[in-house]
Amino acid sequence: MSHGPIDSPRDNCYSSVVTWCNSLVKVMILRIEKGSAVPISRQIGGQIATLCASGKLQPGERLPSVRELARELAVNQNTILRVYERLVHDGLLEMRHGQGTFVTDGARANSLVFHRQRLLEELRQLTRQGVALGLSSEQLHELLAEALDQLREIAPNLEETSQ
């Protein structure tokens, strides 16, 4: 079954993993997939939001400057600036004049709003596939419950760590 263009292997697509490491700045791993149907700004924004949601980026922590991150990821500075501005707008980051960009106190809660929309979109796609295959509403709910059960088996404290 097709999973859309992102999963199909392309010879021109490779990923880049960056570990940002500095005594003053939080270690942050971002992975960029080139040639993806997901625009680069959305990839970076989504990953920073995930780091906030999972607590790997804590309130008050400073992110690399636009210049530093652009250089590290080899991505246009304007793109990074737009990502930061978007995350400031969404309440995940704040820019303190002359000091840099920091994770806000409300970052975790706000990142859930950010992710809710994305998850809904992905679930909608999956649901569409299920309906096309003739699954009923009950069967779809069963599948979701089964997926959750499988995850609980692998990671028994799944829900606690994400609280």
Binding site: N12, G35, P39, S41, R67, A74, V75, Q77, R128
Partner: protein, 305 residues
């Protein structure tokens, strides 16, 4: 001084009977990183040679930093840095020697800056040029292109022949030393997935014309594939620009410009549809290879050969 680094309007150029540029128009703002995309043999290098005043146009208007390179080629070249596609340098010279050799050609050459770039780009100055790796060679070319502090830097397919690691390093140099210093970069390439992270703006050249110029991110947001029932295509506004369409059973997948308004329209008319994001390669392909719709709704299921 206007805000345009490059201004091209209705430029035509033929070589004998072969018409290469057929009324090409585009503009590059100062400070932008501009990617010039096209298939091989579409006239990218011809355009670059015109920008440098090495080749004259048959007709049309062309300005580089406010000057006409056909009239003032030296004044233009003094303010432009150029990295050729197949940079050939004297192999017997050492890297450091070629820096001193090239310096007198440019009144504004800054030798300290040249040495600083050579150091930043890790170019071994003691080594003979013929012994440099491909990556070192490209970066030496970049030192030569930058040391006279040009306002505009023209790079003709710089990533050609570089491996992924070297390409990433090259993109970093470009971001730090060119974008970071506010220079205008005009960058031709056929490796679209390399262009996307770096370029502010892209232009697609096809059959001698620019078929689309747009901000990189805006292009991604604007051009999407929409799958809808075949008969619903008739309900679309006639003004919708369809770049490509592929029948798929009783559905059709269309690639459109202005995706947002098309989706809005389909939603208003309650037409069942799916929207797929496209990567830059797919968007490029839709523009240069796509089967557009001369008459909307008229597609008899003819497979693309």
């Amino acid at each position: 001084m206007n805000d345009l680094a490059i201004e091209i309007h209705s430029v035509q150029k033929s070589f004998g009977k072969s018409e290469v540029l057929r009324g090409m128009s585009f503009q590059v703002e100062r400070g932008q990183t501009f990617a010039f995309l096209g298939r091989n043999g579409e006239g990218k290098t011809t355009t670059i040679r015109m920008l440098l005043g090495l080749l004259n146009r048959d007709s049309g208007m062309l300005r580089v930093l406010g000057r006409d390179p056909a009239v003032e080629p030296l004044a233009v070249r003094a303010q432009v840095g150029y990295l050729a596609e197949d940079q050939t340098m004297y192999g017997w010279m050492r890297a450091g020697e070629i820096l001193r050799f090239v310096a007198p050609f440019y009144p504004t050459w800054d030798h300290e800056l040249a040495l600083k770039y050579a150091n930043d780009f890790e170019v071994p100055l003691q080594m003979k040029i013929k012994h440099l790796s491909k990556g070192q060679n490209v970066r030496l070319g970049l030192v030569l292109a930058l040391a006279h502090r040009p306002e505009l830097v023209i790079l003709d397919d710089p990533a050609l022949g570089l491996d992924p690691i070297m390409r990433k390093q090259f993109n970093r140099d470009l971001i730090t030393h060119l974008q970071g210093e506010g220079r205008t970069v005009f960058y031709s390439s056929h490796l679209l997935y390399e262009v996307e992270p770096v370029a502010d703006e892209v232009a697609i050249l096809d059959e001698g014309r620019i078929v689309r110029q747009s901000g990189t991110e805006q292009l991604r947001a604007d051009v999407k594939q929409i799958t809808l029932p075949s008969d619903a295509i008739l309900a679309l506004n006639k003004k919708v620009k369809i770049l490509d369409q592929r029948p798929d059973g009783n559905e059709v997948a269309i690639t459109v410009e202005g995706a947002e308004s098309v989706v809005e329209q389909l939603r208003c008319e309650s037409v069942e549809h799916r929207v797929t994001d496209l990567n830059l390669d797919e968007i490029f392909e839709a523009y240069v290879m796509g089967q557009g719709a001369p008459e909307i709704g008229k597609f008899a299921g003819v497979a693309k050969s």
